[in-house]
Symmetry: C2
Subunit: 339 residues, 2 copies
């Protein structure tokens, strides 16, 4: 049997709209053998969706524990309210299952460290799914920089205006309205952006930031502005609001040129001038393919390693706690005690 027998745990937006369409394209690698959800009818709907698309129906379980005990899965795909990630990862590993778990790794650095420790002490794969690490755009930009296209990079700005109105499906999610994870939308959405910047520039040394609550229906502070520095010395401004919508601004400044990114293209103005249209891509498919290689071929878990996801999250915990006074990411990671 070459396929990974996968149990879907949690049937919310991420499972239905992000992971499932990717899995439909990977029928040679994954078989969705089981599904569970807090509400059984959602698990049954999901099972029907699988049957319609793939011609077979996964078993529906009333509880996560039953699914884990069933013997029908090799791995679980966790797409849950963030506060459930850590206990559910632990249960899976305890039962001898591999795990792919949707980002962010956990509610805060303290609990995230427990997952990193667990991953060091198990032969089971714990893979935190961060699709931006598998995204053509940021890997291509890194290549441009590695090829010295814009000279020495000195600065990156990324300002995002991801305004979400009250009817937005993510805003409607109950656990997002009463977030138990640090930073609400700021970290939940934001780990993608920091993952992307770390693909390009590597680890971040410190951050100083300020948060604001602009809207009254997003459950937490919804706007963040930062200055920060990578270990490489590149400096950045990352500013994001989930209350105000509009065109994003992404610019990398080097000593000999610039790189711009917008919704459609990467534009390089430097030693050479180049415009690249962003190809159609399914970054979730990429991440499941990587998960498969790690599980089935024993390849090292680099892009899905919990420590990477922990670093993404730690940026937000540091930025939010900083209140303008810089926090070293290393210090935060070292000094935080797993809870």
């Amino acid at each position: 049997m070459h396929k990974v027998r996968l149990g879907i745990v949690g049937c919310g937006i991420a499972a239905r709209e992000l992971h499932f369409p990717a899995l439909v394209q990977l029928t040679d690698k994954f078989e969705i053998t089981a599904v569970t959800s807090r509400r059984r009818e959602r698990a049954e709907d999901f099972a029907s969706m699988v049957k319609d698309a793939l011609g077979y129906e996964p078993a529906v379980f009333d509880s996560y524990e039953e699914l884990l005990e069933s013997g029908s899965v090799d791995a679980v795909d966790l797409t849950l309210p963030i506060e459930l990630n850590v206990p559910f990862i632990f249960k899976a590993v305890e039962k001898g299952m591999h795990v792919i778990c949707e980002k962010p790794i956990s509610t805060d650095v303290a609990s995230g460290k427990k997952v990193v420790e667990l991953s060091a002490n198990t032969d089971k794969v714990i893979y935190i799914a961060e699709n931006y690490r598998h995204d053509f755009r940021f890997n291509k930009i890194r290549t441009f920089i590695d090829e010295n296209t814009i000279g020495r990079p000195i600065f990156v700005a990324w300002h995002l205006w991801i305004g979400m109105d009250k009817s937005n499906k993510y805003v409607q999610t109950e656990w997002r309205q009463r977030p138990k994870h640090i930073g609400g939308f700021l970290s939940d959405g934001g780990v993608h952006h920091i993952a992307a910047l770390r693909v390009i520039f590597g680890d971040i040394a410190w951050v100083s930031g300020v948060t604001k609550r602009v809207s009254d229906y997003l459950g937490d502070d919804d706007t963040l502005s930062t200055v920060f520095e990578f270990n490489s010395g590149v400096v950045g401004n990352y500013t994001v609001s989930y209350a105000v919508s509009g065109k994003q601004y992404f610019e990398i400044v080097g000593t000999d040129g610039r790189i711009y990114l917008d919704e459609e293209r990467i534009t390089v103005r430097g030693q050479r001038e180049e415009t690249i249209n962003i190809p159609n891509q399914n970054t979730f498919k990429n991440e499941f393919e990587d998960f498969y290689r790690v599980v089935k071929h024993g390849e090292p878990n680099i892009l899905g390693h919990p420590v990477e996801a922990l670093k993404d999250l730690s940026f937000f915990e540091a930025a939010i706690k900083s209140k303008g006074t810089r926090i070293e990411i290393e210090d935060l990671l070292r000094s935080t005690t797993p809870d």
Copy 2:
């Protein structure tokens, strides 16, 4: 006699290229009666320039002291290496002269406070010339915001890439190559930008920033990136480099729209959409007209008040000293002892 008899003190770039062309348009308000410079030949050249343009020749003095004693001036226009501003302002006031002095107010907050104290204890006008406070662009943008064109403003970004090559006339200035003022080009050029932002949004509460030295010929750190907050709660990212050149980025984000500024125009996208071409303007002429009103009509010195210039400068002293850990501008201003 309705004209202000003006003595030009220092005949460098600012006197010749910024102030003089403005004064040529204000012959009903100012008469350049005297001039002095460290090098007499530059003062003589300046006197010839005045004669060619205006038909009369100012007296050339070998020293500032002689000019002040001559009885030929009502006010002095100081365009000097920054470290001379404070002693020269004090000498002028001591001799009963009004002063207009090119920004920045002084080398640091400590010395700048002496000027503010002096201004509180004299009936002579001490006017720090900051032409950006007289600039159509920033006053117009403030009006747009006051008119609620973009809703409640929440964020401003200004990223400037004012790359100066080795042959640049400012770079060639000896005192700029061995700066005795804090921040080198960062503060010398930067006070304009902060003055502009303060025209729009008022006073700044705190700043957290990081500096870098990207080039090896600008005499000091040449690149700065910050996050900061106005007293109003508006948050900003101000990033500038004098080592790297390129197009600036200026954007104000409100709850209901945006304002963009580039070299040619102001663009408003909000309750109403509007594009305004930036008119030809001589902001130096505006500032001399204002100085005239203060001196001759006894109008309050608002835009040229030393405390305003001190606040602009304090942003840079705070940003540079902060090294990522926020400094409250009020704290810096209060705790710094005049030296």
